[in-house]
Amino acid sequence: MSPAHPQSALLKAAPLAILLLFLGQAFLSARLGRWVHPEPVEYSQAVRMDKRVASTLRAAAFLSGYKVLVGHAFWIKVIQYYGDSFNSLDRYSKLYDYCSLASDLNPRFISVYTLGASALAFHLRRMDEAIRLLQKGINSNPKDQRLKLMLAAVSYQDSGEFDKAIPFLEAQIDQGDAPYMLITILANVYEKVGRYGDAIKLWQKILRESDQQEPRIRAGLKLQELYGLEKSGKKAKP
């Protein structure tokens, strides 16, 4: 390398350039840090689930930088937890903690809030937890209308005004790919408000489309009951 090369001048100025660039990048990094995290990060505390599991998952997500990936993988674990009938023995006691952790990892994934709150409110009757989960979802996704509608539906369910929950549930099912649980909830709400024809259609849908034995048996029994109610013109018990 020739010593008279123009690059040697730049090399001589390198220490000063390194210092200036270091300060510049540190300044920009701090500015961009405020853009990435406009509000301080807040994490929910696990109450019923193992705190070590929650901490390990958070550490894996933050260290790798793949919060969304860990969030999606953990969400499958939540679905499995809710789908395992063995966990019904303790009324799915960890469900809120699981949903809360899944939403910490992936706060923009709306299904965590909608499915979690549906299960907590309409199936397990844990209205406080369902409302807390939905409020968390609305805080993270202030423009999402579904969560606000659902919060209204859960509140109506809590106050016994079932008919007001119907539009939300119908909207969710019309989006397609609705879980079996949500369809049964709507069918039961129809029954409660005396809309037997609509309830029958939904149970027929479950009977036709479900690939599992248990929902089909339940649908068959419900249909017998509803045909009887429809024939006699009786109102369902509230």
Binding site: V36, F62, I79, R108, S111
Partner: protein, 258 residues
Amino acid sequence: MKRIAAVAVFTFRELVRSKLLFVWLISVVVLLGLAFLLSILSYGDILNIFMDLGLVGMEVSGLMVLILSLAVTYTTEMDQKAIYLQLAKPVTRGEYLLGRILGFFLLNALVVLGMGMVVVGLVLFLGGAPVPTLFYDCVVFLLMEMLVLTVVGLTFQMIATSMVGVVVYSFFTIFLGHLTGEIQWLLGKELAPATKFALQVVYVALPNLEVYNLKDRMYDPTMVLGLPQWEEVVLYTIAYSFFVFLIGWVNLEKREFK
């Protein structure tokens, strides 16, 4: 400029010939297969999940190829002394380093864009859904992240004395670079002065990789990504890359090859 381009093309060819693209091909099949499996196993918007995981796959395959290529080229360049041949030519050490950075980045861009095209193709033609505009922003951010990590990796190559060192330093930079948000949160807490100082050093010295982590905020309705943000991110990328490049260059100049 010609000399830099010549080194870049030579490096790119060297990397392609070392069959690193097979790693990419395998990762396309494995990671996209995994993304597809996870999205159908999950409950929710399948296409959203697939795109999220596709972006993760793009980043992972880019990082895998980068770290493997750093390891492979350290062995050939430094251990087997191939760098002698390069530096014996009328190329300055600064041009050599810049050329190598460009060569590495070309390969990485090929890997990331190739996988991105597969993801977009699958979403458009199989999923039948439009790809959100932010997806393309994510890809550009990913490329900027790859540029920063390429410069950092090659600087480590100039500083480190073994291939293991290069790989370990690069891994730690990637891990800690994603923790800047949490370090910032920790700095707001009451800590021992020495711990706080150490955290501050880590915070300002490491690349803030969370800046490029647009994939985690793709569906964030509150996120603002306008011209000022773009300008700042591009400026940050240039400033950080040039800062690290200068450190690598100074080290290469001082390094004696025996």
